[in-house]
Symmetry: C2
Subunit: 630 residues, 2 copies
C-alpha cells in the first residue's frame, strides 16, 4: 500500500477563498409557479398587465351614477330603477342611465355609465321589485377599484434573488405568470469511497468488515438543506482507473463533486492523485481541526471538495466551508437561526494551536438558558451525529474555554433546538419508551457509571442507574425493577441452568461493557459464586469463555446468540421475550432515575418524572418489569 502524509496545511481563509473561487452555479432554469416555493428568482419579473384589468366593484351592492344620489340619507333615500344585474366574471349587459342602477357582485365589472357602487347594506329593495332605495350619498369612484389600481403594467413586481414564498407566488399569480425564471440548484455529486461501505437496506456482511454508508446520506441531506440537488454515485474502490472514470462521470454531470465516506488514507490518496494528475489541485489539507484530510480542486470543469471520513467531521467541514458556497451558488440566504449563543456547561481545554471547529451539543438550564458542551472528541462515532447540534469555532490561541463562558454555536441545521430533557445512563427498554412521551428528549445509553459521571459534571439533567448508587445534590424521581438473566437460544438447547454453568461448562458467553449497570449486577453474582468456592472473582471470570467479550447495547448479547456467534448472552427477560429466545432468570435489578437538584424544576425533567409516575401501563408491556411506587 502506498501511503500519503498530509503536509503544508493551508490556513482556513485560504480554503474558504479556494472554494469561493470554484464556480458552483448551475444554469438558470424555468420553474412552474405552482412548484416554485423555495426557489430563487433569477430575473426581475415586471407586471405586463394592469391588475385589475377593469374597474371593479369592491362590494356587493348597486352600480349607479354618483350624482343621482346627491343629498340621499337614511331619512330621505333616493329611488333608482334597477335595470339589470352584473355578476363577477361576466361582461355587463347593461348600461346605466340617469336614475338607474344595476345590482352588482363584489369583483364584477362596473357597467358603462356607472361611476360608483353603493353597499347593499345602505340600500333597501323597493317593494315593487324593480327599484332600489339608496340611503346614502356617494362620490364618483366610491367602492370601485379602478383598473391598474393594484398593479400597473410595467411595475417591478418581484426582483432577482428573491426567495419565493407564499406571498411572492400570490403576487406572480395575480400577474398571470405560470412559469418563472429561477436559479438552478447546483448539482452535487457524492462519491463514497471505501470497499467496506454498503447502502442502507442491503445485506451487511459484518464478518467481512462491512458497514453501512453514513456519510453519503448525511452529506446528501445536508446538500439539500443548503439548496443543492444531491446525486449519489456508486461506491468506488481504491483502484486508480475506476476512480478516475467515476470522478469524470460525476464531474460531467455535476457542478460540484464531493467525496465522502472513507477514513482510509489509501482511498483518499487515490482521489488525491486523480485530481492532481487529471485536474487541478487547489489545496490539500487545511490547518483546522478537523480539516486535515480536506481536498479542494477542479476536474473537467467541475469543482471538487474531499471531506473527512468521520461523520461529525464531514458534517463540520461541509457546514463550515461547503454549504456557504452552495447557498451562494443557489442564491439561498443563510437562515436567520443558523447560530445561537450559549454558555459553556463545562470547562474545555484545547491546545493544538490550530483553529478548531469544536462539535458541541446544546442543552438548557432550569431557566431555559442555552448551555453548550463538547461532543465527539475525535471518536468518529455515528451516535455523535445526533448529539452534535453545531460547532463552535475556537481560535488557535485559545487554550481554555471556561465553564460559563459565552460562545456562539453555528448550528448544523436551522431546525435544531436544544433537547427539553437531557439524560444519560443505563440502556433500558423502559427508558426508551418513557422518552417517547417527552418532546425532544436526548438520552445517551452510556451505562450507569457514565450516566452518574455526566450528572456530576452538570451537563445532563437526569441519570438512569442500576443498584444503590447515590450522588450528592440529586434526587430520585422514579424507580422500577427489571428481571435479568442469561439469554439462550429458544428452548434452551444447552440446558443452561445458571451462572455456575458459564464457569463450569464449555459455553461461549457474551458480556456487557464495563460501564453497564447490568454487568455490575452480574459481577455481584460472580462474587457470590467466588465466595462459595472460596476463590478470587478474577479466577471465576477467567473461567468464563467470553467474559471479556463485552458489547454495549442491551440487546447486543442476545443478538450474538441469535446469530450463532455465542451460546449465552447477558440480558433482560423482556429482551428474550421480544426476540423469541430462551431465558434463564438470575434476579431482579433495581433501576432508578436520579435528577440534579438544580434541574428538578426544568419542564422536561418534570415531564419525565410524570411519565414514570403514570407509566404503569407502559411497564406492564415489558415482561419482568415492576414499578416501585414512592
Amino acid at each position: 500500500m502506498s501511503r500519503k502524509e498530509f503536509r503544508e496545511l493551508s490556513d482556513p481563509e485560504t480554503a474558504r477563498e479556494a472554494i469561493a473561487s470554484l464556480d458552483l452555479r448551475a444554469d438558470d432554469e424555468t420553474a412552474e409557479l405552482a412548484s416554485a416555493r423555495g426557489r430563487v428568482l433569477s430575473e426581475r419579473v415586471d407586471a405586463t398587465m394592469d391588475v385589475p384589468g377593469f374597474d371593479r366593484a369592491s362590494v356587493d351592492g348597486y352600480a349607479l351614477r354618483a350624482r343621482d344620489t346627491f343629498g340621499a340619507d337614511e331619512a330621505d333615500p333616493v329611488r333608482l330603477t334597477v335595470v339589470g344585474e352584473v355578476h363577477a366574471g361576466a361582461e355587463p349587459a347593461v348600461e346605466i342611465g340617469e336614475g338607474e342602477a344595476a345590482e352588482i357582485s363584489t369583483g364584477a365589472v362596473v357597467p358603462p355609465g356607472a361611476d360608483a357602487v353603493v353597499m347593499v347594506e345602505r340600500t333597501d329593495p323597493d317593494p315593487d321589485h324593480d327599484a332600489v332605495l339608496v340611503r346614502t350619498s356617494l362620490a364618483p369612484g366610491d367602492r370601485i377599484m379602478f383598473a391598474g389600481a393594484d398593479i400597473g403594467a410595467g411595475e417591478r413586481a418581484v426582483g432577482p434573488g428573491t426567495l419565493l414564498t407564499s406571498r411572492e407566488i400570490g403576487l406572480l399569480s395575480a400577474l398571470g405568470v405560470d412559469e418563472v425564471p429561477v436559479r438552478g440548484k447546483p448539482a452535487v455529486g457524492i462519491i463514497s469511497t471505501g470497499d467496506e461501505l454498503v447502502r442502507p437496506g442491503e445485506r451487511l456482511r459484518s464478518e467481512a468488515g462491512e458497514i453501512y454508508d453514513v456519510n453519503s446520506y448525511t452529506t446528501a441531506t445536508a446538500v439539500e438543506e443548503a439548496g443543492g440537488t444531491p446525486r449519489l454515485y456508486p461506491h468506488a474502490g481504491d483502484d486508480y482507473d475506476a476512480m478516475e472514470s467515476l470522478l469524470r462521470e460525476a464531474a460531467e454531470d455535476c457542478d460540484l463533486v464531493l467525496s465522502s465516506g472513507s477514513t482510509s488514507a489509501s482511498a483518499v490518496d487515490v482521489i488525491y492523485r486523480v485530481i492532481d494528475e487529471q485536474g487541478e489541485l487547489l489545496l490539500h489539507g487545511v490547518s483546522v481541526k478537523p480539516g486535515k484530510p480536506m481536498l479542494v480542486g477542479r476536474l473537467d470543469g467541475s469543482a471538487y471538495v474531499g471531506l473527512p471520513g468521520y461523520p461529525v467531521s464531514a458534517l463540520t467541514i461541509f457546514r463550515t466551508f461547503v454549504a456557504p458556497a452552495i447557498r451562494d451558488a443557489a442564491g439561498v440566504p443563510e437562515p436567520e437561526t443558523a447560530t445561537v449563543d450559549g454558555a459553556m456547561a463545562v470547562r474545555e481545554r484545547y491546545s493544538e494551536g490550530r483553529l478548531r471547529y469544536m462539535p458541541v451539543g446544546l442543552t438548557t438550564d432550569v431557566d431555559g438558558r442555552t448551555l453548550v458542551y463538547p461532543v465527539d472528541k475525535g471518536s468518529g462515532a455515528t451516535t455523535s451525529l445526533v448529539e452534535a447540534d453545531g460547532v463552535v469555532a475556537v481560535p488557535p490561541d485559545v487554550e481554555y474555554l471556561e465553564k460559563g463562558e459565552e460562545v456562539e454555536v453555528t448550528l448544523f441545521s436551522p431546525d435544531i433546538r436544544p433537547p427539553t430533557l437531557f439524560g444519560a445512563g443505563e440502556d433500558d427498554p423502559a427508558v426508551s419508551r418513557l422518552l417517547d412521551r417527552i418532546d425532544r428528549p436526548r438520552y445517551l445509553s452510556s451505562g450507569s457509571r457514565q450516566g452518574l459521571r455526566r450528572l456530576r459534571d452538570g451537563v445532563t439533567d437526569v441519570a438512569i442507574v442500576t443498584g444503590d448508587a447515590t450522588l450528592e445534590d440529586t434526587t430520585p424521581i422514579g424507580e422500577w425493577s427489571r428481571e435479568w438473566g442469561l439469554i439462550v437460544p429458544q428452548g434452551n438447547p444447552d440446558e443452561v441452568a445458571g451462572v455456575a454453568d458459564l464457569v463450569d461448562r464449555d459455553l461461549r458467553f457474551v458480556n456487557r461493557t464495563a460501564d453497564s449497570g447490568l454487568r455490575a449486577t452480574f459481577e455481584g453474582v460472580l462474587d457470590v459464586v467466588a465466595d462459595d468456592r472460596d476463590v478470587e472473582r478474577h479466577e471465576i471470570a477467567g473461567s468464563i469463555e467470553g467474559f471479556e467479550r463485552s458489547v454495549r447495547g442491551h440487546e447486543s448479547p442476545a443478538r450474538n446468540v441469535l446469530d450463532g456467534r455465542a451460546d449465552v448472552g447477558l440480558g433482560l427477560r423482556t429482551t428474550a421475550d421480544t426476540l423469541g429466545m430462551g431465558f434463564v432468570p438470575c434476579g431482579d435489578e433495581r433501576v432508578r432515575a436520579l435528577a440534579s437538584d438544580d434541574r428538578i424544576e426544568k419542564p422536561g425533567v418534570r415531564a419525565f418524572a410524570a411519565a414514570i409516575d403514570d407509566g404503569e401501563a407502559l411497564f406492564d408491556t415489558l415482561t419482568g418489569y415492576r414499578v416501585e411506587k414512592a
Copy 2:
C-alpha cells in the same frame, strides 16, 4: 340573488378550539430514507444491530498482539513479522500469532489473534519487507473500535416526533434503515370560488371581469410551508349542486378542505349552505379583523375552513388559525424565527373594539433596529401581499399603537427578513433596474406625491420624485432625466403631433393617476396650452377624451393603446421603444432620488446611491434617459 349577513360572531378562542377539534391528521406512512428530509418520525426507531458489527481498526497501521510490544519505544523498537494485509471491507485471511503483525487499513476487521492496532506513523518498514519495526508500546484495545461501541443493539436511536435532518438520516443509515415510519402530511384541498377566477397562464378576458386566481396559489404554498400537501380543485361557480359535489369530492380526498378565492358573498353563501345542510357547521364568522367571513365545519369526515377573500386577509387567517393546526397534525414544530420584535414606525389608531390581526411590513432604521408599519388597510390589493411581512395582534381594548411602541410580529414565513432598502415614489423603469443591484429592496410604485408623503412619515428610506419637489431633512442621492411624451400605435397612424391634438381632435387618451409625477409634468404642459389660449386648465382638460381615465403603471397607458382601447397614452420614450410603438416627444423630465437624512448611512441607502453613481451603463440601455452627475 340571496344575500347572507354574518351575525353572532364567535370569539377568536372559540375559533381556535373549533379548528383544534377537527382531525386533520393524515395516516402515518413509510418514507424512503433518502427522501425523508423534513419528514417527522411517527414511531421510535431502535437499533437492531451493533455498530460497528465487528472489532474495527481506527487507524491505518498494523494489527498485533499488545503484549508483543511491551517495552518498545522510539529508541528500542520491536520487530514483528508481517504475515499479511487486511483491507477495509474484506474478511481477514490471516490470524495473528506471537511476534506477528498484519498491515491493516482504517475500518478493516481486526484479525483473530490481534488485540491492538499501531498507527503507521509509529512504525518503520523493515528493509527486508516482510517485517515492521514498532516504536511504541501498546495496551490491549488500543486503536480498536469494538463491535457495538458506537451503537448497541436495542438502543433507542431516534424517537417519535423527531424532525429528520441530515444528522438523523446519517444515524438511521448507519443502522441500515432504508425506510422510516413517518407522519403523513395532511392533504389539504383548496377550492377556489368565483366565476371570475382564471388560472395563471390561461387567457384572461378583462372585459368580462376576469382576474387571475391569487388565493389558491398563495394558500397552496402556505399549506406546503406549514407541512401539508395542497391539492387544487377546479373553480366552482355559485351553483349549489355543483358546489356540493365539488366539496364532497375534496372532502373524500383530503384531511382538510379550504375554500378561498372569492370575495363574493353569494359564493360564500352557497358554501355556507352546503356545509350547514350537508355537513356540520361549527362556526360562522369570528370577531377578529379580518375574520368575519371565516367558516369552520365538517363534511363527510373531512375538516372544512373557509378563508376571507382578500389575499392578505386570507393569508392572515390562514397563518393565525389554520397553519398551527396543519403543523400540529403534521408534527412539524413552529420555526424559531416565526416571530420578531420591532418598534412601531408610525402611530396607528384603531377602535373597532374587536381583536385585530394587523398586517404589517418590516423595515429597519440606520442602526438595523426593526421598525413595523401597517399595510393593506382593507384595500384588498395583491401588491400588499409582498409588502405584508406578518401580523401584529392588537387586542380589542387597544385604541392606539404609539410611534416607537414595541410590538411582536408573527411572520407570514420564517424566511422573511426586513428589506435592506425601502423606497417609494415614481414608477420608473430605471429604478426597477437599479433595485436589481440591491439585496432585498422594497419599492412601492406609489407615484411621486405618495413617495414624498411616506418619506416625510419616516417609514421609507428614499423617495423617487419628479420635478423640483423638496422636503426638509432629506438629501438628493442621485438624479437623471427621462424623455416623455405621447405613445401611439406603431407608425403613428393618427398622425398625432403633440398635446394640442388631444385637445382639438377626437382622440381617445389614457392618463396616469393623480399621484404620478409624469401626470403633473403633463398638466404643466396643459397649463402652457391653456395660457396660450387664455382659458382655464380644466377647460383644456375637459376637452381631452379620457383625461380622467387614469391608470397606475408607467406602461399601463401604452398597453391600453396596444390593446386598441385608446389612441394615445401618456408615457416614456423607453416604453414606446420596448413595446415597439410610436412616440411623440413632449420633453425631458427630471427625476431625483431623495434620502432621509437619518437613513442616509443605512447600508441599503448607500448601496442604492452607489448603484445610481455607477449606473451609466444601465441608463444607456433605456432610450431617452440621461444621468445627471452631481
